[in-house]
């Protein structure tokens, strides 16, 4: 069967596009090389809906960011993804940083962000009694959400609306046939009229497979630490330092998560490996030190986890040049749509990116509305569930919720797939309590090998006495 569109990459961008296109009567396929969606940048970030204060006005990035962030309340409501406005503070700690705050206020106003204001020290203290600082720029509209939940929800809703989703399928070659593309993968080959390249940090390589060589992505790692929920009351808003020119990110900041933790990070460091998700000693120490400057009340004992994500940067190491999102149908390769360099605020922009790509495709394909399109994802509300046997004590996840995660619509089966859907194992004991229970539940439902995060990550080598038998 020929597809109308194949989307390569099940990150938030690919899944948002898939769901957007499922509004129309199209044959759609989404491919991802991993065993689940949200395994790339979209599952490893700060989870902030940026309003666009920090992006140069007039750029495509600014346009899509501002438009995308405005769609969040509705989108999250439709998909049952928690989202909350908490506001963002950019906090000056020295007099020398005050000018920068005023300058950012100006940029933000120019971009049309209305709810920006400068706070003096007493106002800052009133809002954030635990934060160190002398003044701040306050952007009330900014929100937080669960990025992997949004990614998963978009994929599930897309599937519910008819999109075929194939996981564990890596595109390895792209051929242009007369009026269509043939994608070779490690799991069959597929043909389509349009290809959307939303391969994240691999997008330049995927473009190369199709013969387009002009792009180059520089992977830039950001490490995080996660604070226990017990610290939730220490901050109310997101707290950023004043950005330093030349630093690859927005500076190490404190972000409350929608689930009640606090994230410290991310760092910014160019790395060779595009999936080198290591955390490193020096950076973890630096995160702690810099976070203490903003929030002296942090206690080392409250760290419960650390992780890293990789940014898809288009500017080379050492350069602080602004680079815009590259989103276009390749003039030399009609039907091939590239999305390259979708770094922050890629999440915030994703809903608008999807609409933008929809318009590009509408130029070549007739888009007839899909009469069965349902924008709502079916989710059970937490309150109905809370009574019942609790499998994960830290995050208070019930057996029913874990079962729902095990039987997820995408068929992703691993402990991580379960964790990202119901949060079992994300709490302070990091699975010490729930892991054996979830393993029991998995063994009750299937004979499949139990993995941590898909093929190669087996949790067990066999039954207890097996090693004695072979020797």
């Amino acid at each position: 069967m020929d597809y109308d569109v194949i989307i390569v990459g099940g990150g938030v961008v690919g899944c948002a596009i898939a769901r957007e296109l499922s509004r129309y009567r199209l044959n759609l396929l989404l491919l991802d090389k991993e065993h689940d969606v949200a395994r790339g940048a979209s599952g490893r970030n700060s989870g902030v809906v940026h309003s666009g204060v920090q992006v140069p006005p007039g750029s495509l990035k600014a346009k899509l960011n501002i438009a995308g962030s405005k769609q969040f309340p509705k989108l999250c409501r439709e998909l049952g993804v928690p989202w909350r406005r908490v506001g963002k503070l950019i906090v000056a700690q020295h007099k020398s940083e005050l000018a920068k705050l005023t300058q950012m206020l100006g940029t933000g106003k120019k971009s049309g962000i209305a709810d920006l204001k400068l706070l003096d020290k007493p106002q800052l203290k009133q809002l954030e009694p635990h934060i160190n600082g002398i003044a701040a720029l306050y952007s009330q509209g900014e929100a937080i959400f669960s990025p992997y939940m949004l990614n998963i929800a978009l994929a599930e809703n897309a599937k519910q609306n008819g999109v075929h989703i194939k996981l564990n399928t890596r595109v390895v070659g792209i051929k242009r046939l007369e009026n269509k593309f043939k994608l070779a993968t490690d799991n069959g080959s597929y043909t389509s009229r349009y290809v959307v390249n939303s391969a994240g940090v691999w997008a330049d390589k995927l473009a190369q497979m199709a013969g387009i060589t002009g792009y180059r992505i520089y992977p830039c790692r950001g490490e995080y630490r996660v604070l226990d929920k017990a610290c939730a009351k220490m901050i109310n808003s997101m707290v950023y330092p004043v950005p330093v020119a030349g630093y690859g990110g927005l500076g190490i900041h404190l972000t409350p998560t929608i689930d009640g933790n606090i994230l410290i990070g991310p760092s910014a460091e160019y790395v060779k490996g595009r999936e080198d998700y290591r955390t490193t000693g020096p950076v973890l120490n630096k995160l702690y030190r810099e976070a203490l400057q903003l929030l002296p009340a942090i206690d080392r004992r409250d760290f419960i986890a650390a992780y890293a994500g990789i940014r898809s940067k288009l500017c080379r190491p050492g350069s602080s040049r602004f680079t815009d999102f590259m989103i276009c149908e390749e003039p030399k390769l009609k039907g091939f749509i590239n999305l390259v360099g979708i770094e922050s605020p890629g999440l915030s922009a994703a809903p608008a990116i999807a609409k933008h790509v929809g318009k590009l495709i509408a130029k070549g394909l007739k888009l007839a509305p899909n009469p069965d399109f349902n924008p709502r994802r079916k989710v059970e509300t937490r309150l109905d569930n809370l009574s019942g046997e609790l499998v994960c004590r830290c995050e208070q996840v019930t057996r029913r919720e874990v079962l729902a995660a095990i039987n997820n619509p995408l068929g992703a089966s691993s402990l991580s797939a379960i964790k990202y859907r119901c949060r079992a194992g994300m709490g302070r004991c990091q699975g010490g309590y729930c892991l054996p229970r979830i393993v029991d539940m998995l063994r009750e439902t299937s004979n499949e090998e139990i993995t941590f995060h898909g093929p190669g990550s087996h949790m067990f080598i066999g039954a207890t006495k097996e090693l004695l038998k072979c020797s």
Binding site: F460, I461, T464
Partner: protein
């Protein structure tokens, strides 16, 4: 609907079992014991090695055997037990919310005994950088999989931390045919009991690397190895000592944390040194009628000691229920130089009082000095002191002068 009980015991491990039975024997009729697992016995159920009960029963029992004795006592004394039930909330007014397959339950009691035990510290607590592959287990979770669920987590192990669970697991893994490349300890002395060093490591030729730690974890999908390095006198990594070891599993035995989230939310004050509630000699916390015993209070090394003290707490709770009140603390007890922590942290009534404490480093021919204010009330020489071994000393306090501080020091 709200249920009412005289006494509620939260946690059905050895501490909760002993406390419940003792309270019943002291005349409390209406007791509810709540346990989150499907069976009583707590962590002992997965401790299938022997060595339990030497003090109380004068024989060496396995964990499940030891637990069974108390489970039977609970059953014989007709104590109501809810297993498979997790308490999710406790208030200062001694009301709880508990969840199980039948739904949510609200229960209030005249007295509550906390015996929730402890949990294991994780990778984040010891800050090991590196990748996040499969094959990183805490020792207790691995023990659970091997002993209770017939699942083998790996073949070639490195164990970080020489606490007792790590040592016991080194032996268990070897017995099950796995290879234990070594047990690493960042301190200059082991964290577990001397008998476990002999019986679990030396008898099986498992190397113990003191002053060593894991500095990195390798492997994308499954652990492929770890980097280890020597630790300098001030705790830092000694440059040039890092080397890589190939293994498929890293076992973490890096300490236990008393499980006090419920206590904290109820407003119970905790001791930063133990991680457990601040209690007086009866086990009473700062909230009258709420008591704590067992590993939720501080981490014991021998279950027999824990059982005896939990029984005393059960009796104290019974007195409280009868009298409807209890005495308030008059004195504070503090850990002085050389002492890691002391329990109880407060004294409410005069008499002979047992103090339990640990030293912070090993030593020989040391004096333990207990002072009341400036006055030395007890002095005892110890040929050997060792942090893994809990020291217990009785002091006689015929009268208490309020506000006085009792201090335990090592000289």
């Amino acid at each position: 609907m709200q249920l009412k009980r005289e006494l509620m015991v939260i946690g059905g491990g050895p501490a909760g079992l002993a406390a419940a039975v003792a309270a019943r024997r002291a005349g409390v009729r209406d007791i509810l014991l709540i346990e989150r697992e499907d069976c009583l016995g707590g962590i002992l159920n997965q401790c299938i090695h022997n060595g339990f009960g030497r003090e109380i029963f004068k024989e060496s029992l396995t964990g499940p055997e030891y637990a069974q004795i108390f489970i039977e006592q609970v059953q014989l004394s007709d104590i109501e037990c809810w297993t498979g039930t997790l308490v999710t909330e406790l208030t200062a007014g001694k009301r709880i919310i508990a969840a199980n397959s039948r739904g949510l339950h609200r229960i209030c009691a005249q007295a509550v005994i906390l015996s929730m035990g402890c949990r294991e510290r994780t990778r984040a607590a010891v800050d090991i950088p590196g990748t996040r592959p499969a094959g990183i287990y805490t020792a207790g979770v691995a023990q659970n999989f091997i002993n209770l669920r017939n699942l083998m987590p790996g073949k070639r192990f490195i164990i970080l931390g020489s606490g007792d669970i790590g040592l016991i697991m080194a032996r268990r893994l070897t017995l099950e045919g796995a290879e234990v490349l070594g047990v690493l300890e960042k301190l200059p002395y082991p964290g577990g009991l001397p008998r476990n060093i002999t019986q679990c490591l030396e008898d099986f030729n498992i190397p113990l690397y003191l002053k060593h730690t894991v500095t990195d974890i390798h492997g994308k999908h499954r652990v492929s190895g770890v980097s280890i390095a020597k630790v300098g006198p001030r705790g830092g990594i000694l440059p040039g000592t890092t080397r890589k070891l190939a293994c498929d599993t890293l076992l973490l035995s890096v300490g236990l944390i008393p499980e006090n989230e419920l206590s904290k939310a109820a407003g119970i004050k905790l001791d930063r040194l133990t991680g457990g509630p601040l209690v007086d000699e009866t086990g009473q916390t700062n909230i009258p009628g709420i008591y704590a015993c067992g590993n939720v209070l501080h981490v014991y090394d021998i279950v027999d000691q824990l059982t005896k003290e939990a029984e005393a707490v059960g009796r104290a709770a019974a007195c409280y229920i009868k009298a409807g009140q209890s005495q308030l603390p008059l004195l504070r007890v503090q850990a002085g130089s050389g002492i890691k922590y002391v329990v109880p942290q407060q004294i409410s009534a005069p008499g002979k009082r047992l103090l339990s404490f640990r030293v912070d480093t090993p030593g020989q021919n040391k004096y333990i000095v207990i002072k009341s204010g400036r006055k030395i009330i007890k002095r005892q020489i110890k040929q050997r002191v060792n942090p893994p071994e809990l020291i217990q000393l009785e002091v006689n306090l015929p009268e208490l002068s309020p506000g006085n501080i009792i201090k335990v020091e090592l000289k």
